[in-house]
Structure formats: structure tokens, C-alpha cells
């Protein structure tokens, strides 16, 4: 069943006619257009306030969007990058499964299907059609990370072998019918997740967010009239598209290819021990871009296989980042982009391959590959490779002080690649995710763990005219027996490369140091290993790549920690 996904944008529309982008009154256009974006922000704040899960309330791991009657995303909040491409794909998947003609006012479709527009199972998408006087004019959509969707491990995030270990899979179903939660469907879903009462609350919060979009849209229609609102919805797509096309035109035409290897999938370092191949060939032609991932590794046993939506998000993110990050994201600006991702590879996961960590690991490595390709065309807009990961550390066991179970989940920052005009940022979350760290004092107060060091690794950033950011060392000591941990990290085998003569950064290094001081190195993905009492787990994330030859660096010392040789 191998095939090729030809187009990233499910609602692609190739209009080549020239003319003004916006024919509405430009002032009405600008006010309505920014209102659409502020509706997305408002949906988000409603969900954050009403959600049961503090993860949602505080880490704001959610994204909101408005789509037009055909399902094209017309506005999307400045949210999580890995949700960018997932929005249009999820809407498309949902509207194929549930025909719009069957939808009634205040219905809502729920889905988390990773093989049909989803990113990973904990990301739940809820889609509500918005009607005005009987006419379907738009959809409100939000994608919200549930802290747990069942599966083999609490938190639904660990090293898995098939999708069934990652939690419950929900194809598009009408979960709310005319404002009422379907009692049978919801009981089926909630019977399959941990702490179902809280998830029920999250689901209601998601619905409340979509209802807010309906109210705001009705207000706009009353003030500006239905025709103007619909017209601006359409023109908003053309507007973002025109902006991105102008940017693409500035990139010299040509074909730019790059390839790299991921460390492995938690079970092995790929078929030949070199890791898993990721490659992309970017063709820029006039106003359009085609990204072809043909040649990337076949899907693998561990959970690094990227659903298509994750791959698409990485492409959209990278293009916005290397052109103009202030272009308002919507389907219009994805229009000029074609993505070819062969089915059954690690950039287009198929059933039943596991996917859960592609969101944090593979996605960031795809960005580096794309940056490597774009560097050949527009080096002044591209940065060196970064640490390629979110570096997720989970720990669990029994807390000897309270006698109760504990689970702890955190991310560790690393080095960002050097920029053409300045150093990379040290110890920093990069690219596709952006949640915060957990304070050392909070970890130590809650868990039988001591943090022995949390520092930048001096000299770990790749040297260059501008240096890559430094990686981070975080060291944990087990204070009780039976503590198990998992790590999902990257770039232990292949360092972050530099650009324009800049040097590579230091590789990631993960090891256990026992109480006698002996070290046992570990691979960058580790599933459920026991850390003996008194032993230390040492995480050292990778440094970013440098930019430009090191001899051109004016002053080394002035940049503080950066690449002073240790």
C-alpha cells in the first residue's frame, strides 16, 4: 500500500489570477482580519480557564483556529508550532468522515486520529460548525493536549511498539449533538482514560471555547454584515498567501537537498547502526515550494514515526521561520507548499506504527534537515542545527516519605544553532515546542530525587564567528529505591552541524554514575530503566552548531560562557 502523499494542503486551490489581494475596504478588512485572530486567542483563554487539567491551564498546550465553510483555516492563534499543519489536516479528515450536510448547529466532532490529521493521541481536536441563520459559515476548532488518554503508561508517553500502547484512538465522531454531550460515546472514551472525571471537564472546556467563537462571530456579522464577513474570510487566505509568496520569490529558484540521521528509536540505532535517515529535497520555483522527503528511513519499531501532520507542521514552521515569522498563519500561506512524504516512512506514519515521540524529537530533527537545505539558498536567513529534541525525562516509583506512587515528567533545554548575526541561545527550547522547565526546588520538594547540577555545558556550543548555544547538564540522584526513568533525546550520535564554516556542537551524552563514580553510558532514548538509590542519572544535551569561521570571531570572552574551550 505504499503511496505518496502529494499535497500538504488538503484544500489546495491553485489560483494564478493576478490582481489586488484584497478588494474589500482595507480598513474593514484589517479590523475583521485581526478580529478572526483575536477570536482564536479568546477561545484559548476560555479553554485555559475552564479546563480541569493544570497542564492545559498553565502550560497552555493547546491551539485554536477558525476555518471557513470549506474547512480552510482562516486564522490560527500564535500557538504550539507542532499544531500548525495539524489543524487543516484534522479538519479535512473529520469532514471526510462526517459529512458537513449531517452537521447541525452546536454539534462538535471529536478526533485524535494520528493517521488522519492528528499529531499524537493526547492531542484531542474538537470541531464545531458555526451556523448563521441556517447557513454553515465557519468552523471553530481547538486542539488540546489531554494529560492522559490511556495506553501502557500514565501520561500516555513512553517508548512504545504499536499505537495501541499509546492510548485510545478516536476517529472523527460527533461527540456533542446540538449542544449536548453524547452520553454513550463519551462514556466509551472516558472508560479508556485515567482520571476520567477531569477529562470530562476538559472536553466541556473545549466545547465552551468553540461556543465562544460562535458568539464572537455572530457579533461581527451583526456589526459588519454576513457578506463582508464571508468576503474577508476568503480574502484573509489570499492575504497570507500573497505575503508568503512574496517571501518565496525572494528565495533563488533551485533544488536544495540535505540529509541527516536520527539517533534511533529506543530499540536500535537503525538497520545499519548509523541511525535513521531523514532527507529532504526542496525545490523552489517562482512563488511555490515543493518539499520531497523521499529516501527517508522506513517506519520503525519505536515511537519516532511522524504522522503526516507533524511533518507538515515542521515544514510550515521552517518556511515561516526562514522567511517572515510575522505572517499570520492560515491555509492560505500553506497553499504554495507541496509536501511529498512517502507512506510507511518515518515522515508519514501508517497504522499501526507508534508515533508518540515524533512530536518532540522527529519534528525538531526535520526542521534541522530543512534548515540545512535552505542554507544553500538563503544562508543569511538560516541558523545552524540545534539540539534537535525536547529531551523528555520521566521518572516514577514510590515516594518513601509518603508511601504513594509518583510520576514526574520534564523537558530539558539545549543549544540553539548560531545565527548569521549573533550567537545561538544557551540552554533553550527550540523550534516545535515551548513548554517551561520544572524548578529544581519544586522537584526536590515533591519527589525522592535530588538535582545535583543544572548548568550550561561550557564550550559545548559549536565554535564559529557566531557560536552555537550551549547544551545543558542536569543531574538527578535517586534518594529512594526502585525509581525508574525514561529519556527521549536526540543528537547523541550525530552532532548539530554548523554553517558557513562554523563548527559542530558537542554531542548529547547520557549516562548513569553509580555511588563509586563509575559511569555507564546510555543511548539517547531509554525506556524504563531503574536508577539505584544513590546513583545519578546525568543528562547532557547537545550544543548548537556554529556559524561562520571561528577565525572571524572578534572577541571570545565578551560572549561569556559561549565557546570558551573548557
Amino acid at each position: 500500500m505504499k503511496g505518496v502523499v502529494l499535497s500538504s494542503n488538503p484544500n489546495k486551490r491553485r489560483e494564478e489570477k493576478e490582481g489586488p489581494v484584497v478588494s474589500s475596504d482595507p480598513v474593514t478588512f484589517e479590523i475583521l482580519r485581526s478580529s478572526f485572530y483575536s477570536i482564536c486567542e479568546e477561545m484559548k483563554s476560555v479553554i485555559m480557564r475552564a479546563a480541569f487539567s493544570p497542564l492545559i491551564s498553565l502550560s497552555s498546550d493547546l491551539s485554536c483556529a477558525l476555518a471557513d465553510a470549506t474547512g480552510k483555516v482562516i486564522a490560527q492563534g500564535n500557538d504550539i508550532a507542532v499544531h500548525l499543519g495539524a489543524m487543516p489536516n484534522s479538519i479535512k479528515g473529520a469532514l471526510e468522515a462526517v459529512s458537513p450536510s449531517r452537521l447541525k448547529p452546536k454539534d462538535a466532532i471529536l478526533t485524535n486520529d494520528v493517521y488522519n490529521g492528528g499529531s499524537h493521541l493526547p492531542d484531542m481536536t474538537l470541531i464545531t460548525p458555526l451556523f448563521f441563520e441556517g447557513e454553515l459559515i465557519a468552523y471553530a476548532v481547538n486542539r488540546t493536549h489531554w494529560p492522559d488518554v490511556g495506553g501502557s503508561a500514565p501520561g500516555s508517553s513512553s517508548v512504545t511498539q504499536e499505537i495501541y500502547q499509546e492510548g485510545i484512538r478516536i476517529p472523527p465522531v460527533v461527540m456533542f449533538k446540538q449542544g449536548e454531550l453524547d452520553p454513550q460515546l463519551s462514556s466509551l472514551v472516558l472508560a479508556n482514560v485515567r482520571v476520567p472525571e477531569e477529562r470530562l471537564g476538559d472536553l466541556h472546556a473545549q466545547f465552551a471555547g468553540n461556543m465562544r467563537a460562535l458568539e464572537r462571530l455572530e457579533e461581527l456579522i451583526h456589526r459588519y454584515g454576513l457578506e463582508d464577513v464571508k468576503k474577508v474570510m476568503g480574502e484573509t487566505l489570499g492575504y497570507s498567501r500573497a505575503l508568503i509568496e512574496k517571501e518565496i520569490q525572494k528565495i533563488p529558484d533551485g533544488r536544495y537537498a540535505f540529509e541527516e540521521y536520527m539517533d534511533g528509536d529506543g530499540y536500535s540505532a537503525g538497520p545499519d547502526g548509523r541511525g535513521l535517515r531523514l532527507c529532504a529535497s526542496i525545490e523552489v520555483k517562482g512563488k511555490s515550494v515543493q518539499v520531497d522527503f523521499t529516501g527517508s528511513a522506513a517506519a520503525t519499531k519505536g515511537p519516532v514515526n511522524a504522522p503526516f501532520a507533524v511533518t507538515a507542521s515542521s515544514v510550515y514552521y521552517t518556511l515561516l521561520a526562514v522567511t517572515n515569522p510575522s505572517i499570520p498563519p492560515n491555509s492560505g500561506c500553506y497553499d504554495p507548499i507541496d509536501i511529498i512524504a512517502p507512506r510507511g516512512t518515518i515522515v508519514c506514519a501508517e497504522h499501526p506504527y507508534p508515533v508518540v515521540s515524533a512530536n518532540t524529537e522527529t519534528s525538531n530533527r526535520i526542521v534541522d534537515v530543512l534548515l540545512g537545505a535552505f542554507a544553500q539558498a538563503i544562508p543569511e536567513k538560516v541558523i545552524g542545527a540545534s539540539y534537535g529534541s525536547a529531551c523528555i525525562v520521566t521518572m516514577g516509583g514510590v515516594n518513601p516519605r509518603t508511601g504513594t506512587d509518583f510520576v514526574h515528567y520534564e523537558t530539558v533545554g539545549g543549544g540553539m544553532g548560531a545565527r548569521p548575526d549573533r550567537d545561538g541561545i544557551n540552554g533553550h527550547r527550540v523550534h516545535m515546542g515551548n513548554t517551561m522547565n520544572v524548578p529544581v526546588e519544586a522537584v526536590e520538594a515533591a519527589f525522592p530525587v535530588r538535582v545535583c547540577a543544572y548548568e550550561l555545558i561550557q564550550g559545548s556550543g559549536g565554535r564559529g564567528r557566531h557560536a552555537g548555544g550551549c547544551g545543558v547538564r542536569r543531574v538527578y540522584e535517586a534518594l529512594g529505591p526502585g525509581i525508574r526513568f525514561s529519556v527521549l533525546c536526540e543528537r547523541a550520535l550525530h552532532p548539530a552541524w554548523g554553517l558557513q564554516g562554523g563548527e559542530s556542537g558537542r554531542r548529547a551524552f547520557i549516562y548513569i554514575q553509580d555511588s563509586r563514580g563509575d559511569r555507564t553510558p546510555l543511548p539517547s532514548k531509554v525506556a524504563s530503566v531503574e536508577l539505584a538509590r544513590g546513583s545519578r542519572l546525568c543528562i547532557e544535551t547537545a550544543g548548537g552548531g556554529g556559524y561562520g569561521p571561528v577565525r572571524e570571531r572578534a572577541e571570545v570572552e565578551a560572549h561569556g560562557v559561549y565557546p570558551v574551550v573548557a
Partner: protein, 700 residues
């Protein structure tokens, strides 16, 4: 008011607010019950010059006798930070954690910008020195402070010529022993050094935020100290009885306390404005207000509910650079909650690559300023658009202090906007006004709707130079029933200085599960806080008898990562009190998040103590001069203004401040020119002047 030179006869209270462009002074005389205000230009290189200039003018015109007290809202702390002119500072940390300051919370302020800047750490790596020592989460010493390492660090400080030192060791909120030992040793070697310890500045858990707060305190301390000390000396030579400073929490602090904890002064000026708003609301009997302050480059909005400004516990200073977020420097401590955006009279109109008109966030600022100022600006600004449409009087702007050149505004709008679209000047200017106003409206949404507050439950209070012109339109569009423009709208913030009381907040992290806390632990935590508070109050020259105390605790369900603050009456010395506290927490949690988790274990995290000393605050009836009554108003002429939706000029009656009397009704449309702002009343609205000179705008 200004120009009136009746000599004062009683005790005199003076408030001086230093702003970006003007330094405002408000003085109140208990004897004649008169309020006087005056404005001088701010002197950026040494703001105290402007302060004394204003003070001397007051003495010359009114206050020949002694001034009882002077309250100051200062920009010295903010400017020291913004201009990065702080002291050469050294940071001592637990070894292995020297980089906590630089790693921050490791997230980034902008999602997609590869070239983003991050606020650089205020102490570079070579001056962040780790010392071997360790205390655990329960306050037990795991390894003692390494004295020889400390001595090496001190040697390093001496070599480097360090002026100020921040000390932040892990878990010092729980046990300050090592921080105290280190401070003692440093002072023994470098007696003139300023030493700020994290357990002293803000003893709350979360090492990055506590360290950041402490480092910022250390960084700005020498410069704030010099400034306040000089000012204090000079004021006492001038016979000023007491000198205090407005803090970010909306309370006053003696200058002695302010010098030790300058980090609490960063939002001094904006806090004064919100105190003013709350005080006026109380006087008018209005509990809920949205305060909107629009100046030249920024607009701020804040919320007053039940008579008090909304307060938040964390604030990021210096978090916006050239209109983009850069993270800033987090400060833990209560701060009046404000939303600030880059929008104001100076916001520039421009056209993006797809041919769409935008207004702001870039501002022409004070230099070169709007095109119509004639000071070299050639970009069209929000003020230029308002002038071209006839809303502003070129001869009467800022009470006639600034002359505006209409032809320069027209040229800028024509060149940069109208020509591109092929529009008339009026159409281009109307477009700029609509977009600029939509930005302000978005900000009002941000503080109200997006925080779950319905603007229909609020009145809009508009002040600052550029706010009152658009407030009535914003109110109408957001269904806010009533708009209030206070008298003295341009110096309104300074009024807050005269009416604020002393306020100190203290915190201490002491985690206890509510089902495990022993009867002695709560009282002990509060006793510690009370001891620290006594020390602060001593420096206020105040005794406990006049002090009101408020206790509260921060609580959460075990395992959660955020807390809710719950006020309490007792000290948790008996189990009944603790049960009551659990119930209060559950109620508050339910109100905030629509659910609770009955049966789950609850944790107390922080203990808080707030002390306030309310001075005899003059009410609005005293501070705002009563004005004589009248029943009808007649305009003093008309101005032709362009009506955007009708696409034609209409004639609007113009009223002058001073000519409008209490009880007077002004039917819209109308323009009111005051000494420092212009107010517009829409066609379907009417204005009512109350006896204190507040203009209340409602629909007809």
C-alpha cells in the same frame, strides 16, 4: 488651578510623579483645602532636577511654609534597568547552579522568530560564582558552606571592583543560614558592598524567579540608593517632614525601606495611576472600573474591582524591546496588574507588503514625534490623523503649550497613506483612526473579556493625554455603559500619591500538607513574618497600633504546580481553623476552575503577611475642588470635524474646561478641550459634569 497663587495655610501634602515627558506635581493644602498642580519637563539625565524644579515652583507660588510630607513616584529603578546602567554585580549561587539565571524557564518569548533576542542575564558568567554548600527542601543542611571557596569568591569580587552582590542559594527560603554566613563574610571584607540575599528580598521557592528578583534588586540598588539618599537629604533641608516612595504594589514605603528593596519600585508610576483610579471610584461610588491610560507611545489598561486595583504576583520587567517580546526579568512580589501595548498618539501608520494599512506598534515617540509637532517627524501618526480630522485644536493642544502644524500632518498622511490608496486625506486619516482605535479596543478586551470579566459590568475611566478622545467610542463598541474622564486627566496618576497608604507584603515558603501540619507550625511561620515586618515598620517610623494586618496562605492540591491565595483570619494554631481553611480553598478552587477534587490532599505552600497603614487620606470632595453649579451648557464655538461613516464634515460644539460647571449637561456630539486632553462625546451620548469636575458620558 495653575496660575492661582493663593498661599497655602495648613499642612501641605505633595505628590510628584516623574513620567517620560513631563514631571507632574500635585499639592494639597489642608488649610485652604485647595489642590494645585503643575507640570515641568522631565530631566532624563538626572530626574531629580525636574523634581526640584517642580518643588521650587510650588514653594514660590504657594507653599512658603513647611511641607508635611512628600510622596514620589520614581522612574529611577526602571530607567537604571532599561538603560542597563546598574552596578557591577556579582551573583553567588550553590555550586552547579550558576547558570539558573541564564537558563531561565528555558522557554522562548516568540514562537517562530529564529533571530529573536532574549533579555541578557544582568550578571555575566564570570561573575556568577558557585560556592559548595547544600540545604535540602526541608531546610536541613546537607553540606556546610565552603568557607575557603567563599574567600576565593570574595577575592575575585575585590579584584573586579564589585559594588553589589546578590546571594541566592537553593532552598534558602527554608533555611537562610548559608546566605547569612556568606553575607557576613563579604561585609567583613568589603564593608561598602551592597549585599542582597534572596531569603531577604523574596523568600519564596522556585530558584529562577527568586534569583532573578534578587539579582535585579542588587543590580539597581546602588543607583537607586544614591538617588533617594540625595533626594532625602535635600528634602529634609527644605523642611519636608516625611519622604516616601510609591511601590509597584500600590502602597507607599519609607525611603529607608525603598533603598533596601528597590526591586519593588519598578512599577512606581503606573501603580500610582491605578491607586488614583480606585480612589476616585470609591468617591464616586463605582466599584468596578477599567482604567485606560493612553500616552504618547504606550497605552495601559488595568482593572479595579470592589474598589481595589487588581494585583498579580509576578511581573516581567523590561520584557519588550522594539515592540517585540524578549522575556524580560521576572520579579516575584505583588504588583498592580496592567496590560501595556505599544499604542498611543505617536503610533505610526504604515502599509505592509500586501498593501494593508497598519497603525503601530512602532511609535514616533517624543523624538522626532508626530509630524504635526514640527520637530522633524515625517511619518503619519495617530495624533496627525486626529488633527487632520478636526478633533484636535492646533492652537489649543496641551492647553496651548504645544503648537500643532496641520499642514505637516496632512503632508505626512498624504505621502505615506492617501497617495498609495488613491484616497482623500480625510478618508486616509479616518482609516488610521479606526485602526488605531481598534488596537486600543483590543487591549481593553485583553484586560476584561480575556480574563473572564464582562465589560458591561464596568465603567471606563479614561485618562492620559490621548485616552479621553476615543474612550466614548471604545465604550460604545464594547457595550460599556458609562465613561468617566476625571478632572486633571493629564496629571491624574500623581493624585494617587496623595491618597495612598503604606503597604508591605511579605512571603515565606513553608510547605505543609493540611492533614499533617502541627498546631505550632502555622503560628511559627506567621511569627517569623511578623518579626520581619516589625523591622520594616520600624523604618516607616510607625508603631503597630496604626497597622492593619492581613494574613493569607497559598494552597494547592498535592501534585499540582500552581497555587491559589486564600485569606485567613487566624494563624492556623488549631485544627478547626485548618479544616475551615481547607473548605475555603475548595470553594475558591471551584470558583476559579469550575470543579474541585473533594478528598484530595491539600498542601499549604506559602505564608503571606501584608501590613497597611492608612494615613488620613483626603477624599475626592477635598482633593478635587468643588465647582459651581449650572443647569445648562452652551458651547464656546464650533469645530468642523470629519464624520467617517457619513463621509462629510459636521460642525461640533466645543466646550472649554473651566467653562463647564457642575450639573451641566453636554449633549453629543461635542468636543471638550481641557488643559491636557481633548474629550469627544458621540452623537447618541450625553456628558454630565459632576460637582468634582468629573465628566460622566452615558448614552442619551
Amino acid at each position: 488651578m495653575k496660575g492661582d497663587s493663593t498661599p497655602f495655610q495648613g499642612a501641605v501634602h505633595v505628590g510628584i510623579d516623574v513620567g517620560g515627558t513631563f514631571t507632574d506635581l500635585v499639592a494639597y493644602d489642608e488649610g485652604t483645602r485647595t489642590t494645585v498642580f503643575l507640570k515641568v519637563h522631565t530631566t532624563p539625565t538626572d530626574p531629580s532636577e525636574g523634581v526640584f524644579e517642580a518643588f521650587q515652583q510650588l514653594k514660590a507660588s504657594h507653599a512658603r511654609g513647611a511641607v508635611k510630607r512628600l510622596v514620589h513616584a520614581t522612574t529611577i529603578a526602571t530607567n537604571t534597568l532599561l538603560q542597563k546602567r546598574g552596578a557591577k554585580t556579582c551573583l553567588l549561587t550553590t555550586r552547579g547552579f550558576e547558570d539558573v539565571l541564564e537558563i531561565r524557564r528555558h522557554n522562548r518569548p516568540q514562537m517562530y522568530n529564529l533571530f529573536q533576542e532574549i533579555s541578557p542575564p544582568l550578571v555575566p558568567r564570570r561573575l556568577r560564582l558557585g560556592i559548595a554548600e547544600r540545604i535540602d527542601a526541608r531546610g536541613d543542611v546537607l553540606s556546610p558552606l565552603d568557607k575557603s571557596g567563599l574567600l576565593e569568591a570574595i577575592e575575585r569580587m575585590e579584584e573586579e571592583g564589585i559594588e553589589s552582590v546578590a546571594i541566592s542559594f537553593l532552598h534558602s527560603y527554608r533555611n537562610p543560614l548559608h546566605e547569612e554566613e556568606a553575607r557576613e563574610e563579604i561585609l567583613a571584607h568589603i564593608p561598602q558592598a551592597f549585599v542582597s540575599c534572596s531569603h531577604d528580598v523574596w523568600p519564596e521557592f522556585r530558584e529562577y524567579e527568586r534569583t532573578s528578583t534578587t539579582v535585579l534588586n542588587a543590580y539597581i540598588r546602588p543607583s537607586v540608593d544614591t538617588y533617594l539618599e540625595r533626594m532625602g537629604k535635600r528634602l529634609s533641608q527644605e523642611g519636608v517632614g516625611s519622604f516616601s516612595v510609591m511601590k509597584s504594589n500600590g502602597g507607599l514605603s519609607s525611603y529607608d525601606n525603598a533603598r533596601r528593596f528597590p526591586v519593588h519600585l519598578l512599577e512606581s508610576g503606573p501603580a500610582a495611576g491605578m491607586v488614583s483610579a480606585a480612589w476616585l471610584g470609591k468617591g464616586l461610588g463605582i466599584k468596578n472600573m477599567i482604567a485606560l491610560d493612553v500616552g504618547g507611545t504606550t497605552a495601559k489598561a488595568g482593572i479595579v474591582t470592589r474598589g481595589a486595583p487588581k494585583v498579580t504576583t509576578e511581573f516581567h520587567a523590561d520584557s519588550v524591546s522594539h515592540g517585540t517580546p524578549v522575556g524580560g526579568y521576572p520579579i516575584r512580589s505583588p504588583v498592580i496588574d496592567l496590560v501595556e501595548i505599544g499604542a498611543g498618539g505617536g503610533s505610526v501608520g504604515w502599509i505592509d507588503e500586501a498593501g494593508i494599512l497598519k497603525v503601530g506598534p512602532r511609535s514616533a515617540g517624543a523624538v522626532p514625534g508626530p509630524a504635526c509637532y514640527g520637530t522633524g517627524g515625517n511619518e503619519p501618526t495617530f495624533t496627525d490623523a486626529n488633527l487632520v480630522l478636526g478633533y484636535l485644536d492646533p492652537e489649543n493642544f496641551h492647553g496651548g503649550r504645544t503648537k500643532l502644524y496641520r499642514e505637516l500632518a496632512e503632508k505626512a498622511i498624504y505621502d505615506k497613506v492617501a497617495r498609495f490608496f488613491g484616497w482623500s486625506l480625510e478618508k486616509a486619516a479616518s482609516a488610521m483612526v479606526r485602526i488605531g482605535r481598534a488596537n486600543l479596543m483590543e487591549m481593553v478586551r485583553l484586560v476584561s473579556i480575556q480574563k473572564g470579566l464582562d465589560p458591561r459590568d464596568f465603567s471606563l475611566l479614561a485618562y492620559g493625554g490621548a485616552g479621553p478622545l476615543h474612550a466614548s467610542t471604545i465604550a460604545k463598541d464594547l457595550n460599556i455603559r458609562r465613561t468617566i474622564v476625571p478632572p486633571l486627566a493629564g496629571v491624574f496618576s500623581a493624585l494617587g500619591l496623595l491618597v495612598a497608604g503604606v503597604k508591605h507584603d511579605l512571603v515565606r515558603t513553608r510547605p505543609y500538607l493540611t492533614d499533617e501540619i502541627s498546631p505550632s507550625e502555622g503560628p511559627k511561620a506567621f511569627a517569623d513574618l511578623k518579626g520581619q515586618m516589625t523591622d520594616l515598620l520600624k523604618r516607616e517610623g510607625s508603631s503597630w497600633s496604626r497597622v492593619s494586618m492581613f494574613r493569607s496562605v497559598d494552597m494547592r492540591y498535592l501534585g499540582q504546580v500552581f497555587e491559589l491565595t486564600v485569606p485567613i483570619d487566624g494563624e492556623l494554631g488549631d485544627p478547626e481553623e485548618v479544616r475551615l481553611l481547607e473548605r475555603k480553598f475548595e470553594e475558591k478552587y471551584k470558583a476559579a476552575f469550575h470543579y474541585s477534587l473533594p478528598g484530595s490532599r491539600v498542601e499549604i505552600v506559602n505564608f503571606r503577611l501584608t501590613a497597611t497603614i492608612g494615613d488620613a487620606v483626603p477624599g475626592p470632595d477635598n482633593l478635587l475642588k468643588r465647582i459651581s453649579a449650572s443647569t445648562e451648557e452652551r458651547g464656546e464655538g464650533v469645530r468642523r470635524v470629519f464624520h467617517g461613516s457619513r463621509n462629510e464634515y459636521i460642525e461640533v460644539p466645543v466646550f472649554r474646561n473651566g467653562g463647564v460647571r457642575a450639573g451641566g449637561q453636554i449633549p453629543g456630539p461635542a468636543l471638550i478641550d481641557t488643559a491636557d486632553t481633548t474629550i469627544f462625546i458621540l452623537e447618541d451620548q450625553k456628558g454630565l459634569v459632576d460637582e468634582r469636575g468629573c465628566l460622566v458620558i452615558e448614552s442619551k
